[in-house]
């Protein structure tokens, strides 16, 4: 499960049914230690920061 994402990695939101932001890409800007397993990305499309569980992202 762990992909060892690091700050600066380019990631993509994994596909899920009826999930409108599937396929969005962004840059990892923060890897949370508390709570562990959460990744903050800066979305390319909006420029806003969003929080995802690591399992919902795939490294590009």
């Amino acid at each position: 499960m762990s992909q060892d994402l690091k700050i600066g990695d380019k990631v993509r939101v994994k596909d899920r049914p009826n999930y409108t932001i599937s396929g969005w890409t962004g840059d990892v800007v923060e890897v949370k230690e508390d709570p562990k397993g959460w990744i903050i990305i800066k979305a390319d499309k909006t420029g806003y920061r969003m929080a995802f569980p690591e399992s919902e992202l795939e490294k590009l």
Binding site: W38, R49, M50, A51
Partner: protein, 208 residues
Amino acid sequence: MEMTSGFDLCPFYSPSLLDEDEGKAINEIIRQSQQPIKDDDSWRADSEGIERNVFFGSYETLLNWSRHWSLFPAAFGLACCAWEMMSAAALRFDMARFGMEIMRASPRQADLLIVSGTLTWKMAPAVRMIWEQMAEPKWAIAMGSCAISGGPFADSYSVVPGINRILPIDVYVPGCPPRPESLYYGILKLREKIRYDSIKRVRDVSRS
């Protein structure tokens, strides 16, 4: 027309068979429960495991740690951002992961106010009243462009151009409306703020 009974339609679930199955299940649990389950004593501190059961830290650290894992948001929505907030609390995104799944219906039981949506001047006294009814320590998140700055209605005669004119805000979450993931980012930022907060801090509530 031939009459049929329910038993004919469900021949495998006649009352006698159900009773028989139920009896088997009861007999099975009686058979398994002849001895009491052994109490778990593994939590007890002994000389070998004492470091596993005792930790040292400051009162402030413990307090902030417990606070940042148990936020109680007020169930309060103003406009379209409220739908995203509800979505964030619902099944797919599941705010329970941060220990804040219970949206309190009373401000007296809440310590987080998520101002989600456009605030009108007409609604402003109610929002301030809710904020003042919440007990300290309390925090506020401004969710969405309208709450942050009035958004597209900033110049309107009826819209508050920024919720920070009504109450002090801890985290601003931009977007129109912000997706639940963006709200989560704001929540994580707020948790960080709470985690490293000082109990000596007194919120400045003075108004001109």
